[in-house]
Amino acid sequence: MKTHSPLPAVDVRRLEKTFRAGPDRIAAVRGVDLRIEAGEVVALLGPNGAGKTTTLDIVLGLTRPTAGSAEVFGQAPRVAVNAGRISAVLQSGGLLRDLSVRETVQMVASCFDRTRPVEEVIARAGLSPLATRKVSKCSGGEQQRLRFALALLPDPDLLILDEPTAGMDVGARREFWDTMHADAARGRTIVFATHYLEEADAFARRIVLMAGGCVVADGSTADIRARATGRTVSADLPDQDTAHAVETLRRVHGEGAVELSGRRVSVRSVDSDAVARALLVDLGGTDLEIVTGSLESAFLAITGAEGPEAERTSG
């Protein structure tokens, strides 16, 4: 890797991209601002058509924006690509089926002035035992690790992963992320788009949520959870004043936010501290518990009705 610079790894400003589809124009990206510092591991989460791939394509210099700007370490994307500072693992497709694993790496390596040694990237992607295998005979997970090997060739400071595990089974996904974990520990900036909430949760420290071509939320995984549903605070109420306590809580936090089951009341709120204080101090609650909502419900709440295809079994 080259030197760490104080410049942001990604600096996207008021980015817009429209496509022509027959007589209409479709806006894939409508005004995205995004700044990612060097060394961050960021998940780009959103349903199909949210504009994730288009945004990443612009950052990679594969597509030109209709309006706005994108810079990678202070350079135009194409300049950063030529300098080997940014690379990517692209979505499925994009390999020549009649080449072997090693030949594919050699071919792509030959397009750069300088790369890491071919055998080294093959080993780091865990492909050494398959180096002579034809791409057509590799499984989806193996092909994805080959794309990862190709991305490692220029030893980029910024690695983009566009839905890297789409179509993989659970085992292959775990294996892929194990490889990535090892790599992220080396301090590379990593940005990945995904449908899988659990991947974003497990691997990223920051989540950027996109929907309808816009960034709708941006924060740590815990932030994102809290922002949508708040937290749920529950406690046992004293026997005598139960009805009165529930009524008080409903008045403050709204009818739908308060549920009672036996003596146990649960309140959903953005300000969990205030609820906790009220329960413990004013209402005599005991056995208090505060739980953060699931990322999935946060996702649904923020992006609207259409959820991520988190459990879609593709391929």
Partner: protein
């Protein structure tokens, strides 16, 4: 020049035995059947003999089969995402095209070399200039059909379409006066088909435009045919590249 890239591309083609059969073995076989083995093989044609005439025709057929396939597959590969993969490297589009063209010429040279060697062995006769010039014209003219393959690949984006485009070359070859000498109305129609001008031009150093019927055709007709078809294929391919770019 990126020798690794070109070398690997060549290795891909040579490893594909089915394609190599259609590019090299089949045209060579056609030459032996339609040319060397015929009774009229020794008859005069232009400054040489009929064997030479058929040798050039079959070499041209093999060369266009090669360039059509390579042009077509280049388009399909790029459409299926390989172009995006290469887009993550400093490789320029122009360099890519130049390297693919180099591969196409190298592969097209195989049937030409094979059939010309067969020609030497089986008694093809012509002036030294006719041998050399016809070989050059066969190779250079075959580039037009790389663009034809490219256009088909861009339009349909499947390997099957590229195979179909190569298959269509058989019909074009019949209409192009390659397999059997045409005459009458059919010959008049044939003069407007894509392979006609190319092969007529390639045989010109031997025939100086004289057909098997003894009628001399002016050089401009063959040239005009090649220029017009090159223009058509080029315009279609350019339009399709623009369309592809807009949708990406």
């Amino acid at each position: 020049m990126n020798t690794t890239f070109v070398g690997l591309e060549l290795r891909r083609v040579f490893r594909d035995y089915v394609t190599m059969f259609f590019i090299a073995v089949l045209p060579g076989f056609f030459y032996m059947i339609f040319g060397a083995a015929q009774d009229f093989a020794g008859e005069r044609a232009g400054s040489g003999n009929v064997t030479m005439y058929i040798m050039i025709s079959m070499a041209a057929y093999g060369a266009v089969t090669a360039t059509t396939g390579i042009g077509g597959m280049a388009a399909v590969e790029r459409m299926q995402g390989w172009g995006r993969q290469l887009g993550l490297t400093p490789l320029r589009d122009a360099t890519y095209v130049a390297m693919k063209a180099m591969v196409a010429f190298a592969v097209a040279a195989i049937p030409v070399a094979l059939i010309y060697v067969l020609g030497v062995v089986t008694g093809a006769e012509g002036t030294a200039a006719a041998w050399a010039l016809s070989a050059v014209l066969v190779l250079v003219g075959a580039a037009v059909f790389a663009v034809y393959g490219l256009a088909v690949g861009l339009a349909f984006r499947t390997e099957a379409a590229v195979s179909a485009a190569s298959g269509l070359l058989v019909i074009m070859a019949f209409l192009g006066n390659i397999f059997i000498p045409l005459s009458g109305t059919l010959l008049t129609v044939a003069k407007f088909t894509p392979l006609y001008g190319y092969v007529a031009l390639a045989r010109y150093p031997l025939t100086e435009g004289f057909g098997v019927d003894g009628v001399q055709e002016p050089l401009w007709q063959a040239v005009a045919n090649v220029v017009v078809w090159a223009g058509i294929f080029g315009a279609v391919a350019t339009a399709l590249v623009r369309r592809g770019r807009e949708r990406q």
